[in-house]
């Protein structure tokens, strides 16, 4: 479980330190202070040997069609688009083990042979030439707890983007998107894996918090795809999406937790799709599940109801393993303030505003 996080030169963060992280960490703050970027940095960190992730986090943001150029793909990762700097995401876990990810535009030359066959070009240009591009690739250099490092690359080429040295990391994690509806292919696969192991009970039980009629879930294949259906006692099972956004969103959260035991789940705008009246029960269930699977959670929220439900659920079950991380913009830099159980008790007692 991560205890300290240090981020440099990533997105809006010039230098951000967060200490005293807990099992469940709720990230708050005004708009445009980097709540989602914090989750993205952790996502890159847990998948440090996967050079696809810098592309994926752009896709998560809804940036789907961009030119394959340094300016479009890599520059937005760097604070102030300063691609001459190195992005670092460092963590220390609860056993005092350190890990570090460095991301930089690769300094090694990439040589490629370009065959100019355009007859309109001058002869000198029509021959085979060697062109050199210094900054069309991005390097992810990961230092593990033994301080051994390995590098992987995402390279912009004429045919698209290629990846080198893609490996599994020693950390595992899942990013649950704010706009994710749940119940899609990824969820189906995760549910099917649970089903094979006979471990679907927890997921069904958590969904009953929002849909008490639910009896069972099943994965229904259709062509190359599959969906999750639920039996709510109306004669036939129905797609989980038809049971409401809250049900499918909660299903996604529960499946994400069960899919990465001992890992990290990153949830953007956790309140989306969940009615305030069920949030406390949902939090209690998620806390229980996260404890059972030894999963650490970082979730963002804009909602005061969500924040209150978060407090109430932890205090109701007498669980101290929580923190609220607020990001503040101070003189063009983003800084963090962390509230632990003790300080949250004072906040509740005084009714003080902590959302920033």
């Amino acid at each position: 479980m991560l205890n300290k996080i240090s981020i440099e030169n990533f997105r809006g963060f010039k230098s951000l330190q967060i200490e005293d992280c807990k099992r469940f960490n709720l990230v708050i703050g005004k708009n445009n202070v980097g709540k989602t970027a914090l989750l993205e940095s952790l996502f890159l960190h847990v998948g440090s040997k996967n050079p696809e992730l810098p592309i994926k986090i752009n896709i998560f943001r809804g940036i789907l069609k961009v030119p394959f150029t340094v300016d479009s793909l890599w520059s937005p990762l760097f604070n102030n688009f300063s691609t001459n700097k190195v992005i670092t995401v460092s963590t220390v876990d609860d056993k005092y083990k350190s890990r570090r990810l460095e991301i930089k535009l690769a300094s090694a030359e990439t040589k490629k042979i370009v065959n100019h066959t355009d007859k309109k070009k001058k002869d000198s240009e029509s021959s085979l030439v060697t062109s050199t591009s210094l900054q069309d690739r991005i390097e992810l250099k990961y230092y593990n707890v033994e301080n051994d490092y390995s590098s992987s690359y995402a390279i912009i080429g004429e045919e698209g983007i290629t990846f080198e040295n893609l490996k599994n990391s020693d950390l595992t994690g899942i990013f649950v998107l704010s706009r994710g509806k749940g119940g899609g292919m990824e969820d189906s696969e995760r549910y099917a894996k649970l089903d094979v192991k006979g471990e679907t009970y927890d997921v069904v039980e958590i969904l009953k918090k929002v849909e008490p009629r639910l009896r069972r879930l099943s994965v229904v294949p259709h062509g190359p795809n599959s969906s999750i259906y639920g039996d709510i006692g109306i004669g036939q099972s129905i797609p989980i999406q038809l049971m409401g956004e809250g049900t499918s969103k909660l299903l996604s959260l529960a499946l994400a937790i069960t899919a990465v035991p001992n890992g990290i789940v990153l949830i953007d705008e956790i309140e989306n799709g969940l009615h305030y009246s069920i949030m406390e029960e949902v939090f209690k269930a998620i806390i229980e599940l996260a404890n059972k699977y030894n999963v650490q959670i970082f979730a963002t929220t804009h909602s005061n109801e969500c924040l209150n439900a978060f407090f109430n659920s932890f205090f109701a079950i007498k669980n101290n393993d929580l923190s609220v991380i607020r990001l503040d913009r101070i003189n063009d830099e983003i800084k963090s303030v962390v509230y632990n159980k003790e300080s949250l008790e004072t906040v509740i007692e005084t009714g003080w505003e902590i959302r920033g």
Binding site: I330, S343, T346, T350, G351, W352, E353, G356
Partner: protein, 207 residues
């Protein structure tokens, strides 16, 4: 959290942290009388939680770095030294500068100053100042005589004699004998410009 109104947060560059609602009412009136608008009054709700209030709430507020000056006012009760030390301890635990005495103001950012009521290193409370302010009121003789009688009958008088005297003084109000201090200030019963309030005025003005 309160659902009736917006939760409190730091909104001004000068903070005056006081114990409870009575202090808020009294000092609000003093601020109003003197057209002082750049001070935010914050009641911390009890001596025992000042330390937590400082370290868990105030210094973590998103506007705290904009704060230029903090004044803390609390009652001495029956231990002036202990009261001053207690405030200093709360400041230290929050990583804030600590003045050496009541009459000092730290020079850092934010500047910190402390006033232990009723002032002049005496034991007592805010109410002692109010009683001092009515020494020329004929009614104060009745109050004093009452406590002389109490002393004779019971062998002692309340430790917090200032608070007790204010209650008795206010109970003599013909039309409304059960007003609390804050309510009586709102009703204009006291003259907050009396010289007894000089040190409090001075502290506020120097914030």
């Amino acid at each position: 959290m309160s659902k009736q109104c917006e939760p409190p947060k730091i909104e001004k560059e000068k903070l005056l942290i006081v114990e409870g609602i009575d202090e808020v009412v009294v000092i609000s009136q003093i601020l109003k009388n003197n057209n002082i608008e750049d001070i935010q009054l914050i009641p911390f709700g009890g001596k025992s939680i000042l330390k937590n209030y400082m370290k868990d709430v105030l210094i973590k507020d998103s506007n705290f770095l904009a704060v230029k000056s903090i004044g803390i006012i609390r009652d001495a009760d029956d231990n002036y030294e202990g009261a001053f030390d207690s405030v200093c301890s709360a400041l230290r635990s929050s990583g804030l500068d600590v003045p050496n005495s009541e009459n000092e103001k730290t020079v850092g950012n934010p500047m910190i100053s402390i006033m232990i009521l009723p002032g002049n290193s005496k034991n007592g409370s805010l109410e002692n100042i109010f009683i001092d302010s009515v020494q020329d009121d004929p009614l104060i003789n009745c109050v004093d005589q009452y406590f002389n009688c109490v002393s004779e009958v019971k062998g002692n008088i309340p430790k917090q004699i200032g608070k007790a005297k204010v209650h008795v003084f206010l109970s003599a109000n013909i039309n409304d004998p059960d007003k609390r201090l804050g309510e009586s200030v709102k009703a204009g019963i006291w003259n907050l410009n009396n010289t007894a309030f000089y040190l409090l005025h001075k502290f506020i003005n120097q914030l």
